[in-house]
Symmetry: C2
Subunit: 367 residues, 2 copies
Amino acid sequence: MNNAGNPPKKKHSVTIMDVARASGVSYATVSRVLSGYEFVRESTRNRVMEAVEHLGYVANLQARSLAGGRSQIIGLLVPNLDNTYVGTVTRGIDQELVRANYDLMLYTSHRHPGNESLYVNAIANGLTDGLLLVAPLVPTTYLDALRERNFPYVLIDQADATENSSVVEATNWQGAYEATRYLSQLGHTRIAFITGALAVRSAVDRLRGYKAALADCDIPVREELVIEGDYQQQTGYEITKSLLQSVDPPPTAVFASNDLSAFGAMDAARECGLLIPDDISIIGFDDIPQASLVCPKLTTVRQPLEQMGQVAVKMLLEQIEHRGRPPQRVTLATQLVIRDSCGLYQTQRGEHSKTLKSTGGSLLRTN
Amino acid sequence: MNNAGNPPKKKHSVTIMDVARASGVSYATVSRVLSGYEFVRESTRNRVMEAVEHLGYVANLQARSLAGGRSQIIGLLVPNLDNTYVGTVTRGIDQELVRANYDLMLYTSHRHPGNESLYVNAIANGLTDGLLLVAPLVPTTYLDALRERNFPYVLIDQADATENSSVVEATNWQGAYEATRYLSQLGHTRIAFITGALAVRSAVDRLRGYKAALADCDIPVREELVIEGDYQQQTGYEITKSLLQSVDPPPTAVFASNDLSAFGAMDAARECGLLIPDDISIIGFDDIPQASLVCPKLTTVRQPLEQMGQVAVKMLLEQIEHRGRPPQRVTLATQLVIRDSCGLYQTQRGEHSKTLKSTGGSLLRTN
DNA sequence: GGATTTCTTGTAAACGTTTGCAAAAGCATA
DNA sequence: TATGCTTTTGCAAACGTTTACAAGAAATCC
């Protein structure tokens, strides 16, 4: 085989047999001690643990999960690794996972573009006890397969159309509503909206929140101001550019469905010679760490990304422990974070500068 | 056991036996086809592949690696998930890994603070074929153990004191040298230096590059301008603050050993009422994506992070294929990226505004 | 055409666990 | 002391692969 002339056998590591021998019991008993079986004599347990300690025994994961036990590994499928959105969610996941003594297997979805179903199949067939999906684009393809296998999984920031999956998300509608309303209160009426990929449920919710807010503020929706994006900075840039150049009169505010798009919008605005927030207001969604780094600092709707990761893990572990629990849906609160990228609508008469009042949602002033 | 009343057996998935049955050969032959053994009749191979395709067979990883084969998984140990530094390196790793059909297991080092040796032991004992360590802080503890087991691993951006490990790094000395020299050419003579954690080899190299450049520019090293940091933004902030407040005369330029520290320095400078780059110049190291987002855009020394990840994977796979190859050390070129955070030293007589000339290294003008 | 050599395939034995089953050991009750 | 419970333990059979070994088939040589 392609194994050339090298020592193929790993140095023999200490197995459950060694522990059994050292503690004078059968390997089955050792296994029971290690997996916390209750009917083991206290003295036996101690003897075994001592041997484990002494020999530095670590259970072999392959063998364990092959034999039907838990692998103590969960799979994480993320869309990419470019932005800190994923990083932040992952941090939350990681925190909770270490607490439960689980390991993490990372998959980047762009890695297997065509055959996604084979791909997810592989994860589930493999050694993970469960799967976490961060904002997957086309989940429908493989969710059915997972459900049919009764394989535990949780969706993060992307709901399942069929309502049959466990989901962790934020109050997308409410967040978008508040952001839009905030812009309106600043006097803006020509508020453009850059959506996310509308295949993603959260993107649709945000769009609905935007429209609802406009309606409540008696601002008619102008369809030419609503353009479908894809959460990418470049796309946000291009959309904003065309909005500013070809819509007349141009928008005085841009609400981007995520911070990355908002960054793109800022680039475009600047390139058109507009000052932020004097000439144009820009607001984002997510509050990734970069949002407070850009200049001016981005006003945005904060999603509790880290917390979402934590909650998702808890839900997943719950599912792993108790298969067949009905799917759960957890929605966490968003929060409007006001920074420096939105300003009053500059009007000759200043009529729009009514005082700001809370929208009833949570409002946070920060840097 | 703690397995309550749930269906413990996973739905039986398609195994190598099923494929064997479907294609009318023994399971051993199937295994050989799948692992690319050469002495299989063409017709047999086709028949097997057809069955595989048809049944949607995916090899069970646990079983495979248990039986002595490769798990096709590599472990990645990163210090944290906060900044895009790690994300960028990981992207490179991921790209190369998918090409080689490997999966990725992610470990965050802060997860097992105390017992690192047990931790790495677990990774090596477990199901990974090799290990990638990104900028580990205290590698000495476990490297010996890995080496003794002849377990493949590669260090990224952190050299091993004993020179016994495979390492991928950048030209830290040269990068720091060029950055320092650049500042000097702008007329600065009071150039502060915020180091990284000096336990990390690359941090030491950068410090040496800084000192060498000063020497070559006939600028004496003032020890009060060189302060040990730890690559954290907060620390960069604190150090710069104290530099500006308690050193007299204060530095006119700050060279931070990584971008994160530089961001902290920018915060501090601004807080002291200084304009960047008019009153103070700041330069970083790494060129993480945020560097071009901050305001003003950060001049910095680019490390080819993504490429470092790719190279590391190639080296690791090489090691996995051919155990016992002597450790290799690859050094990639850094590049000075000039943006907007550094300016000419403001002097009454303007005597320092000599024309800039290339330092001989690579120089890149970009936004 | 028989003897070699080279390909091709199958059998069986690992790999290190978990877990059903049954036997052994305690222990209380009668 | 026998009886019937619990608790504790061991045996053996999976789990799904890889791979050494050996045997059968095909090709090559003299």
